[in-house]
Every structure is written in structure tokens, then in C-alpha cells.
Amino acid sequence: MSRSSYTLEQLRNPETRYEAFGAMVRSLTPQLYSQIRRIVQYHDDADDVLQNTWLKAWQNLDSFRGDCLLTTWLYRIALNESLSFLQRQHPADSLDNEEGEAARTLESDPYFDGDEIELLLQKAIATLPDKQRIVFNLRYFEEMKYEHMSRLLDTSEGALKASYHLAVKKIEQFFHEAD
């Protein structure tokens, strides 16, 4: 029978680590997936990034010092993996190409079930630079406080506010041009 709960002690103990980690995967996968999916947008990509996130967490479990919440640590790994994925996807290509690719794929994605406005918003988000995209998602959809975001992304609150403001302006402009 699989374990349904886990503690940090169990995760640190080699005897109980595997089972406790399994319980953690079962418990936190939906919220990590949701976070990753908002950034990478497509299910197959989110599945890859999610697996890499858990793999990194498993491989680096001993380096978790406990100076933040375990969920915060996992969140940070997920964000870094998402960012790495985006950077691998389009290392140096133009925004026009990214936008076209996102629009083409999202509309035909069987796992995207958004209305016209939601589709337009996702298209607009896809045009944002990678880090701006992450900041926008955390702030707009998850309503994360800048203070928390600052610790998570190791970036000053001022820079995050500026980044979010720029992202909003770009999205407003995108909607304006699409109208």
C-alpha cells in the first residue's frame, strides 16, 4: 500500500526516503503541474518539465537545507526547469516566430479548452520574454505577493514590479492590435 503522507525526516532517512518521496509526488504533482503548464502552455511540454522537476528534486534532496518550505524549494526547481525549457525552445529566434508557433499550436491543442479571450491572452503571454512570462503568470493568475516572488526568483521586488508592469502593457497592446 502506498504511503499517503510524508515528513522531512522521512525524506532524509534513506530507509523511508523512496516511499515518502512517492507520497510527496502524489500530493504535490497537481499544483506543480498547474504552475508549469501556465508557463510552457502545452501538455506534452509540461509533462516533460514536471518529470525533470521531480528528478532534480530527488537527485538534490540531500542539498535541501530546510531554510525554506519544501514546497517553496520545489516551486523554485519547477520555475528554473520551466525557464530552461523555454530557453532551449527558442534560443535566439524572433518574437514573430514565437507568436506564430504559439498561435498555431494552441488552437489545435486538444488539451486547451479556452474561449476566444483566453486564447488571445495565452497568445499574448507567449510573446513575452521568458522571465516576464513567469512574473506575469505568478502575479496575475496565482496572485502571488511580490515579497514571496522575490524570494522565489531571487530578484528585487522593484525589478519584479517593473517586469509585471511591462508585461501588462505588452498584453494590452497585443489585445489592442488584435481587435
Binding site: 523512496y18 498547474s34 537527485q59 486547451f112 495565452q122 489585445f175
Partner: protein, 115 residues
């Protein structure tokens, strides 16, 4: 219909991102099967992180050793070493690189001149 984006309006509660049926039910088992084949990074291997630094220290020590040898030989065997350099075209520095099995010693030279 006018389509506008207003960030001060409430965030839509509808999540347009769907997952294949049963995805979350099977994910943990698939993930743990993959993890079972991967050993976690054990602290016992922590010393491996110092390996590159130790390598660099060895190279530096060897370089200093050969510089020292060159200086000592330069005093008593100055003429002989000059002859060796002229005839064979191999400097002590090159010999040091040979000893360290660094066939592409010019790469180091280029690196030094670039930075």
C-alpha cells in the same frame, strides 16, 4: 465585440488547460518507476565537487616545478639548453606541456593572450 485586457478585473476562474484522462492518477507511479532507476546524489560523493579544483592545483604545481627546474638548469647548463631549444625547437615550457599530456598547448597560450 471589443476584446480588451484589464488586469484589475478578477482573474477568470475557468482553467483552459486540460490534461489527458487519468493523467494525475498514473503520473506518480510512472515518475517513481523512473526515479527507482536513479540514485539520489549522496553526500559521500560531495568530495567530487573539489575534483576540478584539485586538477587545476596539480597543473599549477607542475608548471611551477618546471619553471624552477628551468631556472636551476639555466645557470649551469645555459648553453646546452639554448642549443637544445634552437636545434629541437622544443622549449622547457613545451616539455612541461608534453609531460602533462597537453598536446594542444597553444590553446592555453591563446587563452592567456585573449584574457
Amino acid at each position: 465585440m471589443t476584446r480588451t485586457f484589464n488586469p484589475s478585473q478578477p482573474v477568470p476562474t475557468h482553467d483552459p488547460f486540460k490534461v489527458p484522462e487519468g493523467y494525475f492518477d498514473t503520473f506518480a507511479d510512472r515518475m517513481m518507476a523512473r526515479i527507482a532507476m536513479t540514485a539520489p546524489a549522496a553526500p559521500v560523493f560531495g568530495w567530487l565537487r573539489w575534483l576540478p579544483l584539485a586538477g587545476a592545483a596539480c597543473v599549477t604545481a607542475l608548471s611551477l616545478f618546471f619553471v624552477e627546474v628551468t631556472a636551476v638548469q639555466g645557470g649551469s647548463l645555459g648553453e646546452a639548453s639554448a642549443w637544445t631549444e634552437e636545434t629541437s625547437g622544443t622549449s622547457y615550457e613545451d616539455q612541461a606541456y608534453d609531460y602533462m599530456m597537453m598536446a594542444n598547448a597553444h590553446i592555453l597560450t591563446d587563452y592567456e593572450s585573449d584574457y
